[in-house]
Symmetry: D3
Subunit: 313 residues, 6 copies
Amino acid sequence: MSKGIAEAVVGEQFEGFLLIKSADKGVASNGKPFLTIIFRDRSGEIDAKLWEISKEDEEVFLPESIVHVHGDIRQFRGKPQLNIRQIRLTSPTDGVSPEDFMEKAPVPVEELQEYITKKIFEMQNPNIQRLVRYFVRKYEHDLFVYPAATKNHHEYAAGLAHHVVSMLKLADQIKSLYPDINADLLYAGIILHDIGKVKELSSPMSPTYTLEGKLLGHITMMVDEVSSAAEELGIEGEEVLLLQHLILSHHGKAEWGSPKAPQIREAEVLHLIDLMDAKMNMMNRALAKVKPGEFTERIYPLNNRSLYKPTIE
Amino acid sequence: MSKGIAEAVVGEQFEGFLLIKSADKGVASNGKPFLTIIFRDRSGEIDAKLWEISKEDEEVFLPESIVHVHGDIRQFRGKPQLNIRQIRLTSPTDGVSPEDFMEKAPVPVEELQEYITKKIFEMQNPNIQRLVRYFVRKYEHDLFVYPAATKNHHEYAAGLAHHVVSMLKLADQIKSLYPDINADLLYAGIILHDIGKVKELSSPMSPTYTLEGKLLGHITMMVDEVSSAAEELGIEGEEVLLLQHLILSHHGKAEWGSPKAPQIREAEVLHLIDLMDAKMNMMNRALAKVKPGEFTERIYPLNNRSLYKPTIE
Amino acid sequence: MSKGIAEAVVGEQFEGFLLIKSADKGVASNGKPFLTIIFRDRSGEIDAKLWEISKEDEEVFLPESIVHVHGDIRQFRGKPQLNIRQIRLTSPTDGVSPEDFMEKAPVPVEELQEYITKKIFEMQNPNIQRLVRYFVRKYEHDLFVYPAATKNHHEYAAGLAHHVVSMLKLADQIKSLYPDINADLLYAGIILHDIGKVKELSSPMSPTYTLEGKLLGHITMMVDEVSSAAEELGIEGEEVLLLQHLILSHHGKAEWGSPKAPQIREAEVLHLIDLMDAKMNMMNRALAKVKPGEFTERIYPLNNRSLYKPTIE
Amino acid sequence: MSKGIAEAVVGEQFEGFLLIKSADKGVASNGKPFLTIIFRDRSGEIDAKLWEISKEDEEVFLPESIVHVHGDIRQFRGKPQLNIRQIRLTSPTDGVSPEDFMEKAPVPVEELQEYITKKIFEMQNPNIQRLVRYFVRKYEHDLFVYPAATKNHHEYAAGLAHHVVSMLKLADQIKSLYPDINADLLYAGIILHDIGKVKELSSPMSPTYTLEGKLLGHITMMVDEVSSAAEELGIEGEEVLLLQHLILSHHGKAEWGSPKAPQIREAEVLHLIDLMDAKMNMMNRALAKVKPGEFTERIYPLNNRSLYKPTIE
Amino acid sequence: MSKGIAEAVVGEQFEGFLLIKSADKGVASNGKPFLTIIFRDRSGEIDAKLWEISKEDEEVFLPESIVHVHGDIRQFRGKPQLNIRQIRLTSPTDGVSPEDFMEKAPVPVEELQEYITKKIFEMQNPNIQRLVRYFVRKYEHDLFVYPAATKNHHEYAAGLAHHVVSMLKLADQIKSLYPDINADLLYAGIILHDIGKVKELSSPMSPTYTLEGKLLGHITMMVDEVSSAAEELGIEGEEVLLLQHLILSHHGKAEWGSPKAPQIREAEVLHLIDLMDAKMNMMNRALAKVKPGEFTERIYPLNNRSLYKPTIE
Amino acid sequence: MSKGIAEAVVGEQFEGFLLIKSADKGVASNGKPFLTIIFRDRSGEIDAKLWEISKEDEEVFLPESIVHVHGDIRQFRGKPQLNIRQIRLTSPTDGVSPEDFMEKAPVPVEELQEYITKKIFEMQNPNIQRLVRYFVRKYEHDLFVYPAATKNHHEYAAGLAHHVVSMLKLADQIKSLYPDINADLLYAGIILHDIGKVKELSSPMSPTYTLEGKLLGHITMMVDEVSSAAEELGIEGEEVLLLQHLILSHHGKAEWGSPKAPQIREAEVLHLIDLMDAKMNMMNRALAKVKPGEFTERIYPLNNRSLYKPTIE
């Protein structure tokens, strides 16, 4: 598996192991059923078609299963597509496991853990520190496995923790430029703001929304958990309310899912840092795929803009 | 206090007891300070000006205090205004108390209590029934004292309970027309949907927003309380989630303060019934003030429309 | 024709009579022409493809014709699709007629007629009564055959009358809760508000928009007819203007097709009842197709929401 | 009455006859009642204050009455204001009549009449010609007296006819550039598009909205009249529908009051010509009041823009 | 090449020379590559499919090449489509050149040139005249070859000049109706407003956006050029600023690409004339393709409306 | 002048020198003229009224003049207001000059100059470096005197340079977190993005918009200057285009005044940094005026939000 699927060149062949992220059945214009598959490995994803499938194909090529594929890379509507020639399910003897196929954060998980731990350690306010520590312990495992979103930005293993750490670093710098900011509040807001996603999403590998995720959403779920935790830990005082507000308002305005807009300075800063890091992640990854002098594909959450990669140094 | 202040006719004099709802200091164009006061009694409210005030006036004529006033009713920008000639603070010997000056629901509180109790009694689903009963007990007093809003609709004593009971009656009828509706869910949603207002607002008499009300809002606070209550009562199951969703979504869409739009039938119905009863209350009260053939004053939450009162029977 | 087409299960075969609702020609990626057909029977509709058609197929399989079909039910883009194996036109000997294939209101037409007649009989205001009676007589036949809309809600035979009767029942209840409402105006508004659709739409069976429907729309056409009728009947007075206003404003605001927003109480109530009944009809029918614990397909006029069907009783 | 009130210079005195356009009572900060009056004569309008008024003043200085005024022109919030020293009602011996005080179209009424008559005479299509002639006769008087709007553009005597004639001239030119246009339809649409205003507005002098104007609006009223007229004249055929559509759609889109957008070429052109002439009228009149190198006051219906008057020739 | 491709009738065959406007590769559901081609000749454009292409086909059938085609005209999604049977590249001996296939302005280029020259000659203001003359000379060739847009309106050879001349004629008429307009400014604005398109678009034949066009846009580029030209010509004074403003504001408002809305009368008129001529061009061309009594296809930039072609004379 | 005017406490007296920022004449309800003045000193601004003014007062108390004032601080509509008892113009012997009354950046101008110089020195790309140096030299004086805006943020002497330096520091940190960013482009964009304001605004002291500022705006003016400068310096290449794009797009989208949205990564980052620093400046200054536990006044450019100042450490 030398070259990743996302690095495959149109016109070349591909042979190797891939994880099925999703598989949907369709009927071709000749009346024959086929599967639209999204494959992934660590390098990224590719669309594929498996034509004229049998009943068994349908039952066997399911999301989260690993397959060995041989096919050609083509261009389809401006994007590469894998045309499958041969495909088979893997067996234990192939020695591959799902984790091998997830894209990973570009930073080792241990570093992410360490950085978050250090930031919690530095907190001055004992109430804030205890609440944050409580949640980092509670979601110790998931926080370092889940993506930050199902698509668009940080959509890889430990993406959530990676997003949190990048935001903490940004916050560090901003705090040094604008010293009036309450660092404890801001850092706590950053660590907790999206942690509800581990309950909103079904699994880190091929995440879909849980029923609770659909009916309440990660923001409401997390605001709720903060008050339960505070009660459990016997913490009272404005800190609890402020942390709930930071989580509640971090989408910035009602239309974007925050029923209350930021009403403390740290909440506004949290919103801006979240925006900045999400956009940088999207832009950097789109630009990494094109050469100087070219435009990227359209990036939907950036108002569908294409970005130009300058030719100057 | 035979004739209420809201029934006073322009050109007449007024003499009687009034409650100060709000009092704001201004400076007139001649450089002299004055107070802009809103008075209220059971019949409603009136704007007033107290010209050339002294330091003591300022300190004495505060919100929630009761005064005896003598003055003239004038027209100002299309609305009646009370021009104060004499004003004095009341003393205990006057035998008046703040409750005497609050507008009241047009239905006795006992009836409201009874109706709500009956509806809870009729519930089939024990989990829903226990949760609703828990909250009605917890907020037993406030539910029958608070207004449903600070202005616009049901903004009188027990307005919250009155709004709830009107909505329950509407729901009754709608249930009989569309029998697929889960009545327990709908009734529970109606009873609980705005109960968070007793924590969002500072007091039933001259309500302002609490800090928690401003930073979280009554919807988030109540969703939060439902999960605490469920835990306390040892209730698990979809009922808890559905009730939280009903409360969370009852404003109908994100722009109106519900981060999740209704995703179950009963939530959509709850939203529509809420709208219907609030609008009926606003329209009926505005139309009650005009004669056939006239238009009402503009009603802000109805997109600033004036309503016409037909002359036909 | 035991099991209806809308109840057919993916994976099964279907054999029986169907009405062609629409048939559009396309060219497949292999260059061969095909038909995209929507079939209907009383149970509802299904999409279908007829591949590699001949010239005759094109000329014969037209909207409103009845055919006998044999085929397989498949899944296509998340919806069932009928893959046609055999199809032939019916002949008189088949003993089927178009009415057999239209979905019908879930209430007998006679009941609908009776209810409307009764409501008209109860009216107190002679001018309103005469005008309403005039139109119900004029459109006696069409009112009990036409759907209320071409899609989305009450899109079945007598859907218009069914919608009217449901609204009248809702109005009945609302009138008893808010007795200030002028019942005659409200009932008249309900009966007449959409009656212009019988001129806006070409036919009850496979309705398209008439030229007048496109250039003027049912609201304008009906407002116009009310004034002609009033002249014809020699009726003068505010009633005529109020009825015109009720019809004109029932979409609620300019963006939704009402150049004047409701300016009398009954017009606002009419708008809300219309909304309520249309939404209930959409929600009930979408939820009837799914099992507890599932989400419905997206409902476009409900802002494209899916609804969840709870698992609790 | 040599110099008009709109030409009066700040700092000067004014003495002469004026028409009261509107008079509203207020209460000053010293508790004394006063009147806010808008005066007009042919040159335009001016705001004025009449301080410390008596009961009689209130009853005597009513809209549409003519007064003799002596006062000073001041600057108030960036606009001239007349400070009244002396004011008295006129008597018959003063020899003034209301028409003397209305601003007039800058073109003699006879010319306007003649031009419209000529255009009707030139029409080829007999149905259109008869319908237009019918309405011009029916509203013969009002058409040449009413303004085109209560404010913003052509808000002077015969403003409606002036607007129509300017539009007809524009249409003439546009027809010669784009000969595919159906001139009869376009001219008919221009002549009839706003004629409903004579029923929407109460009077040409100090126009307010009639009840019918508020509940239906001039567009709906006129569409309605066209069908009655067609019936009366025994005219059938597409012409009637097209004329109704032209009137119905001339505001261009739903948000602007046209429930149907233009769907024939002539309707789109009508909308554009209407826009062009209304804007030219507003711009020309605002620019006429400033010197080269200055900006006009903000023009509300031009998105509140100020226009600059260039210094170049 | 008697009958043009845009006049071809569904069901007929076509044989003749065509220019390839664009050619995009796709993969059919049977896995075979194909080309989606847009052909054009003077009569207009047609979509086509070339199935099962070879590598050579892909390399040979490129935009701007001329081919000889034989095929059938079919209906596809409501539009004609050319199904290619035979296709070959042309050779010099075929005696055809690209200019033969471009749709042309319906007016000879010489007339357009003459009209523009005449208008420049008539200008009174020497500064404006020199600046306009400078640009017409600078872009002498391109101005009479480029389209006014890549699609929607005046998208043919010399479309830019044709649009300019139509607008000049409209301006002529409008000037005579509203004589306060500064003709020099308005004419100069018309001639220069879109001239930046010759730099924004890559070529007149199959135009795409240049990098400068994407990053700055024709408006900014042209505003910039005006100041360079003024400097080069030694012209100072308000004229330069006014011309820049005319160009900058001609899209009418920020959302439409003009960072400043029109702030002089001539700029507003320029914007309206631009709108009028663009809409007339779109409407006339769409209506030319349908028969009386039919609706046109939907016109995207007219809010996706279909227009009806009346049956009356 | 020990205590600044913005620190004055309601109820106290004030005596000292102040600069008149603006002075507008009004007429009181008693018919007497008065002046509404905004005074400023280094601490900030205060509103004031000067009642019953003479002609001379009007001519003497003009913007930018310095006066000696004695008066009382009052509360008016929730804000302090200075009630003037005595006021006189200063003479040279008072020894005060306008600069003494302008609020200053909280950082010495020398530091700002040094930082910008250093950043330019560090640039690697010679074209970018030369262009930036050219402009910093050209606007050497104004850049360190002008505010960044007339209100809302950095509206003090050298506010423009202070804003630039804060943004450069933010950029420094962001560059270290996201090393793919082209630092030269980003720094150049920051230094130049608002420099056009020195031409858009009339003066640093009491800035109003110049004619060029109104008709073109600082963005267009600066894009224009970059191309002239490049020509003058003989610089060609993508750098010029990219710098123009950075300036053009820094408001983020069309509605906010950027006809092109950011299309290179550095442009998006520039936009976000600009937003961040402007918001921090607004929030910090509003919060500095309130005590813990209080809300700030509403901040218009933050969607009119009030911010809460927490009571926790």
